[in-house]
Structure formats: C-alpha cells, structure tokens
C-alpha cells in the first residue's frame, strides 16, 4: 500500500469521471439528461483544477460553468423544448463526422502532451517538494494593471476589465431602449394624446 501515489490516484479518478460523463452526454438521447451529465463532467474537471493547485480556476469553473452557464442552459432547454425536441437522435453521418473531428483533436492533444518531457512520468521527489503558491494575489494585482511575474512592466488585464464593464453598460442601454414603452396617464389620455408631428392613424 506504500506505493500508491495519491495525487495520481485522484487525477485518474477525476479524469475518468470527467471523460465518462462526457461520453454519457454523447450517448444520452434525452436533452435534459445530456445537460445533467455535462454538469457532472464539468464539475469533475473542476476537481482536476483543485488537484493541480489552481484553486481559483477551480472555483471559477464551479461558479461560471456549473453554477451559471448550465443553469441558463437548462432554463433554455426547459423553456424551448417541445415534445419532438426532447428526445434527440444522432444521424449516422453526424456520428462519422464527430468521430473524425474528436479523434483528430485527441491525437493532437496526446501528441503535444507526450512531447513535453516533464509530463512523461511522475518525479515523486520533485512533486513532494513542490509547494502550491497562492494564486489569488498575482491575479488581483493583474486586475489592477500590475504584473508580478516579472515578464513586463505593465499588465493589460485592467483594460479588458474596463472593456467588459463598458459592454455591460451597452447591454443595459440596449435593453432599456428595446423594451416595450409604458405610457403614463389614464387609458383615455393615451388614446387621445397624439405626439406633435406624428401622422394620425386613420
């Protein structure tokens, strides 16, 4: 029992869970079950992130992909799926296409992964000495526009943040402009009041 290396055990466990539920997404025919398996697959992926010491990214994965996006997805599915769309069958041609695309991607990723010398096996002595550093503080400094990794003086994350807030404002403005206008006043006023310059309906 001495020889079990627990990080690899849990890596294999989470990886198997993630891949297994991903295959389950493919094989399921009910659209809500597909979404459910996708949630489990993404949650297992966040377990991989936690295992790798990237706890911020792991929590981000849980919050955004599992908590946010999939709730939206299931909402969309629940509200739009009518009787004939609930069950989905995949055509034979789609299977072939999907198989070609998926295996090409898998081959590329595996080739890249095995070409990195550090990823070929576990150096246990090095792995045990490795200390997980805090990941949040450099991220926070990056958000404030300063880089701490010494690569360059100036970070550019702040500008992306500003742009994203700008996009949010644009979205709110668009929603405000596009919404149905509510006229004030009583029903009688609304029927009689005509804007100056506008053509009369009759």
């Amino acid at each position: 029992m001495e020889s079990i290396y627990w990080p690899s055990f849990f890596f294999l466990l989470f990886a198997a869970l993630a891949c297994g539920f991903a295959v389950a997404v493919l094989l399921a025919t009910n659209i809500v079950r597909m979404a459910f398996y996708l949630v489990l697959s993404l949650a297992s992926t966040s377990g991989l992130f936690f295992l790798a010491g990237a706890d911020f990214v792991g929590a981000m994965q849980l919050m955004i992909y599992v908590g946010g996006t999939l709730v939206l997805l299931i909402f969309g599915v629940m509200l739009t799926s009518q009787e004939r769309f609930v069950e989905m069958k995949t055509m034979a041609g789609d299977w072939v296409l999907g198989f070609i695309a998926g295996s090409a991607l898998l081959a590329t990723l595996a080739w890249v992964a095995f070409s990195v010398p550090e990823w070929r096996g576990i150096d246990r002595a090095a792995a045990e000495e490795l200390e997980v550093e805090a990941t949040v503080a450099p991220l926070a400094m990056g958000l404030l526009g300063a880089r701490t990794d010494g690569g360059s003086e100036q970070g550019y994350l702040l500008f992306f943040e500003v742009v994203s807030v700008h996009l949010l404002v644009v979205l709110v403005g668009a929603a405000y402009l596009a919404r149905a206008k509510m006229k004030r006043g009583t029903a009688e006023e609304r029927t009689t009041q005509v804007e100056p310059g506008a053509a009369l309906p009759n």
Binding site: R33, F56, L62, M63, G67, G68, V132, L144
Partner: protein, 461 residues
C-alpha cells in the same frame, strides 16, 4: 491509576503507530471518514436541532401551540417523531417523471449544501479547524452554495408537474439573481483584509469586538445588513420563500416528493442556512474570536503562558506528557469553535424570527428588492469601503484599529503599484495639490504613502 492510563495510552499510541501510521491507505481512509462524518453530522444534527427550534420559535412568536403532544422536556422528541414519520412514509413518484433525475435531484441539493462546509473553518490560529484549507476559501464557498439551485431545477423539471416547474423556475430566478449582491457584499471584507482565505479573514479580527469588520467603517456596517438580506433570499427563507409559497403554488419544486427524498431538500435548506450564517460570522462578526479576547487572557492561544503551564503540569502529574501547550491550544480552538457556532446559531434564530414575523413578498417585489435596492446599495458600499480604506487604512468606527497581525494588504498593494509608477516618472502640479489635500485629511498616514497613492491614481489609468 496514572500508570494504568499511561499504559493504555502507550498501547493505543503504539497500535496507532504500527497499524494506522505505517499504512498510508488505512490512515488516509480513516482521516477521510472522520472528516466526512463530522461534516455530515454538522448538517444532519444541525437540521435536527433547527427544526425543533423553528417549531418552538414559531410557537412563541405566532402564539401557536408548538410541540405539545410529544414527550420530552420542551418537546425535544418532536424532531425524532418527524424523522420517524418521514422515514416510514411511502416513496411516491409520478408516472410521467424522469425516473433517474427525479431520484438524483435531492442528493444533488444535499451534496451541494454539504460541500460548502469543506472550506468553512471553525477555529483559526496556526492550525485551523477546517476540512480543506482552500486558498480562496470564500470564493469556493460562494461557488458551491450556488450549485444547490441545480438540484432544485432538476427536481422541478423531472417531476412532470407544472406546479413543480413553476416553483423551480421561481427559485432558480431568485437564487441566481441574489448571488450578484451576495457576492458583492462578500467582496467588501475581502477588500479590507486583502485575502480570500477565510482563516486569514477570521484571524485578522482578533482582539476586542471593535476589530470586527462590521465595525470597521459605516459602509461595512450597512453591507452586513445587505448581506443578511441577500443570504436570507439566496437560501430561500421567508419573506423570500415564494418558490414554496403554499398560498399560490401547491408546494413549489418539491410538490411531488414525499418521505425521505423530501426531507433531503429540507436538510439541504437548513444546512445552507447554517453555512451562510457561518459565513456572515466569519466575514463580519469576528469569526471564532469572541467579543472580548478571553482566549488570550486565559493564555490558550498556543504560546507558552501560565494556564498552558498549569495544564502541562497537571498532565505531567497524571503521567500524560502529551505536551501542555498543544492541549491548551486545543482548548482555545474549541472555545473559538463554540464561539463561531454560537454566533451562527444566533443568525439562524434571527432568520426564523424574520420568517414568522414578516409577510411573504410577491415575485416582482422579490426581484425589485434584489435588482433595484440590494445590488446598487452593495455597489455603493463597496466604493465607500474602498474610499475609507484608501484614506483611513488604520482606523475603524471606534478609532484606531488594534489588529496585531494587520498587514493592510490592499493599501500596501496600492503603495507598491504607486512606487512603480513613481519610479518611472515625476509628478506634476495638479497631483501635488491633490497630495496636499489628502494628507490634511489623513493624519495617520505618512506623506510618502499619500504621494505614492495619488500617483497610482494619476498614473494607473
């Protein structure tokens, strides 16, 4: 007597050393079981107590009779009777239900409620009482608490009942939208302390109750109440319990559930109620630090002191040389855990008080409260806390802060960023004027710091 105890302990220690410690698998499994057992029992026993408490409190507030027909002092057998009833009820499932998802949904909710406890510390210090010390703990807890809604949606969808679907959609809309102000409120203490680590945030509030972050400045004081409102809404308690409003829907997303599956949803609800109260206590109310530093006065902090010396000598008298300071530290941590659990239980009691006092809000009122009041107020409080921390980093509502290990990471970060900018270019006239204005207001700050800060404001953009 002492020799017997000593020999038994020696035997136990050798057994542990030979069998558990030498076998990593057994040790690992044992440790995992202890942790999991503790966490599950927090939720399960917590629900057991809180259900009884809820009946008693509602009985007092609304002049109901409360548990009167069951035995035991104060009717404490009520929850056991409830549990027995729930276990023996028939497990029903609608004909058109999606059988797999219908069965899985309660467990999804329950697992999400339990998983939040993985990262919540119960006592701080050098060796905190926490199952997994996550570096960005508060972020993890908030992320996991948001997953509970997923089980709700699944339950509502798979029940094949339109009432369940309506209830689930209402709850999902409510919980997802209240996560926004909840997160913004939780960011304010993070900003003041400069860390996402819950253990660190709790340890920073050591000392008198004036060090609690709720008393840090007027903005955090208001933020605390906004947090409480949003937390109540995000765990679906009244007055925001429209998802299970029996006056409009039949019973919300769990209409079709019966027996034990139904009770899993309620254990999840009570579990998440307790975890948001724990979070409020750690973020705002000093965590495991009491209103007065009793642990320090008693000398139970882990450093050598009179009390730990006394405990040490008592242990030596009985022949138990386990190391007195570690026992004293353990006692101090237990006191801290009792402190935290007491505060959180008080929070749960206040939630119950609110539930049995206020009427239920309409769905549009729920949304208005979130989007038109809580979110803007939280944003404004965040800005206010930034400005306060910028100008008075060492002051709180009661005057000077007395934080022993305070590092003021945020102000220091600004200063560092400012130094970097200052080394690149000089200041011009307008920034000099700004610096003079700022330095008049801030007495406690050295003027170099304000120069650096005003530079960072001018140069950062």
């Amino acid at each position: 007597m002492a020799e017997i105890i000593n020999s038994v302990l020696n035997w136990l220690a050798s057994w542990v050393g030979l069998t558990v410690a030498s076998d990593s698998l057994l040790g690992f499994v044992l440790a995992a079981f202890v942790h999991v057992g503790l966490i599950i029992n927090i939720v399960a026993v917590g629900a057991l107590v809180f259900i009884w408490l809820e009946r008693k409190i509602s009985g007092r507030i609304q002049d109901r009779l409360g548990p009167t027909r069951v035995g035991g002092k104060f009717g404490w057998l009520q929850t056991l009777a409830d549990g027995l009833k729930l276990i023996t009820k028939e497990d029903l499932m609608p004909d058109g239900a999606d059988k797999l998802l219908f069965k899985v949904a309660p467990y999804v909710s329950f697992c999400a409620a339990i998983a939040a406890y993985l990262a919540i510390p119960f006592a701080g210090g050098e060796y905190p009482f926490v199952a997994q010390h996550v570096n960005s703990g508060i972020f993890f807890v908030l992320a996991v608490l948001g997953l509970e809604v997923f089980g709700t949606i699944l339950a509502g969808y798979s029940s094949a009942s339109k009432w369940s679907l309506f209830g689930a959609m209402r709850e999902a809309a409510q919980v997802v939208s209240y996560e926004v102000p909840l997160g913004m409120c939780a960011v304010v203490p993070v900003l003041l302390v400069g860390s996402l680590d819950l253990v660190y945030i709790g340890n920073m509030q050591e000392g008198l109750f004036t060090n609690w972050l709720v008393f840090n400045d007027p903005f955090t004081f208001i933020t605390f109440f906004v947090y409480c409102t949003c937390a109540t809404a995000s765990v679906n308690r009244a007055p925001f319990d429209l998802a299970e409003a029996e006056s409009e829907l039949v019973a919300g997303f769990h209409t079709e559930y019966s027996g034990l599956r139904w009770s899993f949803f309620f254990m999840a609800e009570y579990g998440s109620m307790f975890s948001v109260s724990l979070l409020a206590s750690i973020l705002f109310l000093g965590g495991w630090n009491g209103p007065f530093p009793v642990t320090e006065w008693l000398g139970l902090t882990g450093e050598p002191s009179t009390i730990s010396g006394v405990i040490d000598s008592i242990m030596q008298f009985f022949g138990l040389t386990a190391g007195g300071t570690s026992v004293a530290w353990y006692l101090g941590s237990l006191l801290g855990a009792a402190n935290l659990i007491g505060k959180a239980t008080l929070g749960v009691c206040i939630m119950m008080w609110i539930r049995w006092t206020l009427p239920r809000l309409r769905i549009d009122q729920v949304m208005t409260t979130c989007l038109k009041y809580c979110t803007p107020i939280a944003a404004a409080m965040f800005l206010g806390a930034v400005i306060w921390q910028y100008n008075f980093p060492h002051k709180n509502l009661f005057g000077l802060q007395d934080r022993p290990e305070a590092t003021y990471a945020v102000s220091e970060g600004w200063q560092r960023a400012g130094d970097k900018v200052a080394s690149e270019g000089g200041t011009d006239g307008t920034e000099q004027e700004l610096e003079e204005e700022v330095s008049e207001e801030t007495v406690s700050l050295p003027s170099e710091k304000t120069v650096a800060m005003s530079n960072s404001v001018g140069g950062g953009n």
